[in-house]
């Protein structure tokens, strides 16, 4: 699905990422741990193609196509979807209109909003006066409509109260076509073997992993991916020993 080779990224004149290599196969969900300011959001931004993240070397392949130079909207149309941490307010554009944009006017906004408890927000301006949790739900509503093949979430649990975190997790699972969200228990096995949707999730706390199981975890440290492994083991290691120790033992 996604393959990154020797990627280096600068913001302005400041190098942030170097030597990043990552492969996310179809159907896999990867999780990205790492301390603040180490470049996790930069990696997601560079994959999406936001211009402020300047790729200085390396390649990004999506579905076998080199998208390193592709503009943001081409990546979006090819199937990359992102939830950034602090999306801007767009004055005069309603959530309903945004759902229309995301789905190319194909989605039933009322139906999707009901599942995310967002019905009352459909006529509001996107992100205007939204709380942290409301922003996440609004973003997931948009992404549900967008149906990306690679879902990237930057700290989906930040600012979300405990009550709503399950809602956020379920929504992410729905987009990833995971879990038993649609009551098709009989076809679980089929679901697992035919999974095509991939994910890349940044998390500090790991809370989201209780709802969205990850296949592979990585630790981003000082601008590069320092180690990879089992998500739960790695999270426990980080929680008990801290990032530095965790990286050492992995090396």
């Amino acid at each position: 699905m996604l393959k990154i080779e020797n990627l280096a990224v600068s913001v302005g004149d400041r190098p942030i990422l170097h030597d990043v290599n990552l492969e996310i196969k179809a159907g896999q969900v990867h999780v990205l741990f790492g301390p603040n300011g180490t470049g996790k959001s930069t990696l997601i931004g560079a994959i999406m193609g936001f211009p402020r993240y300047r790729i200085t070397s390396g390649k990004i392949w999506f579905k076998g196509i080199d998208v390193t130079e592709a503009p943001v909207y081409e990546r979006a149309r090819a199937g990359i979807g992102v939830m950034i941490q602090r999306p801007p307010t767009v004055r005069g554009l309603t959530v309903r209109q945004m759902v229309g944009i995301c789905s190319r006017q194909q989605a039933d906004a009322d139906l999707l909003a009901a599942k995310l408890n967002m019905t009352d927000f459909l006529e509001r301006n996107v992100n205007e006066g939204f709380s942290g949790g409301e922003i996440k739900r609004s973003e997931l509503l948009q992404l549900t409509a967008q149906k990306p093949d690679l879902l990237m979430l930057d700290e989906p649990e930040s600012g979300v109260d405990i009550e709503n975190i399950a809602l956020v997790g379920e929504a992410a699972n729905r987009i990833l076509l995971r879990g038993q969200t649609d009551g098709q228990e009989g076809s679980m096995r089929k679901q697992r073997t035919e999974r095509t949707k991939s994910g890349l999730i940044i998390t500090h706390t790991g809370h989201i992993l209780q709802y969205v199981p990850a296949d592979v975890a990585h630790v981003m440290y000082k601008g590069t991916l320092s180690c990879s492994g089992n998500a739960q083991e790695m999270l426990q290691c980080i929680q008990h020993k801290g990032y530095e120790e965790c990286i050492r033992c992995a090396i």
């Binding site: 801007p88 767009v90 995301c102």
Partner: protein, 408 residues
């Protein structure tokens, strides 16, 4: 001396008086006498290009969904019909003949000697519309009025009046335009609106002038006790030079004014558009909201709130987007409290579109041009309350025409 003569004498003194704002227009450079245009009993019989032009300023040529129509072409009343009970529509000179009392309102909200434009209209007036909602009558559908210049080089001087009697409710949509073939011309429009006790007037005006047209509207509004005046002004096409500064007086408790403007100035346009609201009585409220965009033209957006009575409350909001390095947006918000208990506030911001907003929409699949157009349409989408759906649609339609490449 008769009232009318006194007004004319005042006007004569001011015939060369320059206006406070705006370039000084040489009124002698325009044709003073228009050819007589024949009445048009059926507006749908007009040529297709004229009909199309009229539709873009909100005039339904079939009259469907309208409580009546007034249309003036050049110096002639082309069409006038009333399609609802409780409303009067005619030219102002016809109205002065059939209502003796109308002289009590004539030139009361606008002074004939304010500047050379008001003076000219007082001395050279060629019709204008008179629309009146009778006491207690709530006119559900909007009345439409249109002032049209069809003759090259002509100056048009009109004097309009709207009277909403006690407890009445009236919606007016007026469109001003030039024929697609007309390049040069001038329009002077005096408008006096009176909203009586408990009355409600929504006034929506869409302008679509030719590229070499100079426009000088002069508007005065008087709102009485518990009256409501909502004004929506939309001008999104190139106009050489427009300057207007309508003044609204809230004269008694409970009077409310909401004044919204949507301006888009393409290269070569000069728009000096603003408004003043004077809160003369306790318990009055006002709101002025402007959204301005320059794609290369000049916009001067003035707003002035005068709180002269205690417990008055008003807010002014002007937001401007500069989409071209060649454009100018000059916001001039003014707050003037004349009592220690007036609550006046303003919010002004002028700048470019935040790149984060464009990128956000691009990450949802829009290309850059679509993203910019979407943001601009949202920016222009002032949420206007209290107007009928048909008027909201006209405004939406005008706004949705915006594309970046065309500039408007």
């Amino acid at each position: 001396m008769k009232k009318q003569d006194i007004l004319k004498e005042k006007a004569k003194v001011a015939i060369d008086k320059k206006a406070v704002y705006g370039a000084d227009i040489d009124l002698d450079s325009y044709l003073e006498h228009g050819k007589e245009d024949a009445p048009v009993p059926d507006l749908t019989a007009l040529p297709a290009n004229q009909r199309k032009q009229l539709e873009t300023i909100g005039l339904d040529t079939s009259g469907t969904g309208r409580a009546g129509t007034y249309m003036q072409m050049d110096h002639s009343v082309s069409h006038c019909d009333v399609a609802a009970d409780g409303v009067e529509i005619m030219s102002t000179d016809a109205a002065l003949e059939c209502h003796d009392w109308l002289t009590d309102y004539w030139w009361r909200a606008v002074a004939p000697d304010a500047d050379k434009y008001t003076a000219r209209a007082a001395l050279h007036q060629e019709h204008g519309y008179f629309i009146r909602a009778l006491p207690g009558r709530k006119i559900a559908e909007p009345v439409q009025a249109c002032l049209y210049i069809g003759q090259e080089g002509l100056i048009q001087d009109v004097h309009n009046m709207i009277i909403v009697e006690e407890g009445a409710e009236l919606h007016v949509i007026t469109g001003c335009a030039t024929d697609p073939n007309v390049k040069k011309g001038a329009h002077i429009g005096i408008s006096e609106f009176y909203v009586k006790k408990g009355g409600k007037l929504t006034f929506t005006m869409i302008h679509r002038w030719g590229e070499e047209i100079s426009v000088r509207p002069r508007t005065g509004v008087v709102v009485e006790e518990d009256g409501l005046f909502i004004s929506n002004y939309v001008c999104m096409q190139k106009v050489k030079d427009i300057q207007m500064y309508p003044s609204t007086r809230l004269t008694a408790p409970g009077a409310v004014a909401r004044i919204n403007s949507i301006l888009v100035a393409p290269p070569g346009s000069h728009m000096d558009v603003g408004g003043k609201v004077i809160l003369e009585s306790p318990g009055t409220k006002a709101e002025i909201v402007a959204r301005t965009i320059s794609t290369g033209g000049v916009i001067i957006n003035r707003g002035h709130l005068v709180g002269s009575a205690p417990e008055s409350k008003a807010h002014l909001e002007c937001h401007g987007l500069l989409l071209s390095p060649g454009g100018v947006i000059h916001a001039v918000p003014e707050l003037e409290a004349r009592t220690d208990n007036a609550e006046l506030s303003h919010e002004a911001a002028v700048g470019k579109i935040a790149p984060e907003e464009i990128e956000y929409l691009m990450a949802r699949g829009l290309d850059e041009e679509e993203a910019v157009a979407t943001i601009v349409r949202g920016f222009l989408n002032v949420n206007i309350e209290g107007i009928p759906a048909s008027l909201a649609r006209e405004i939406d339609r005008a706004v949705s025409e915006f594309t970046v490449n065309k500039g408007a």
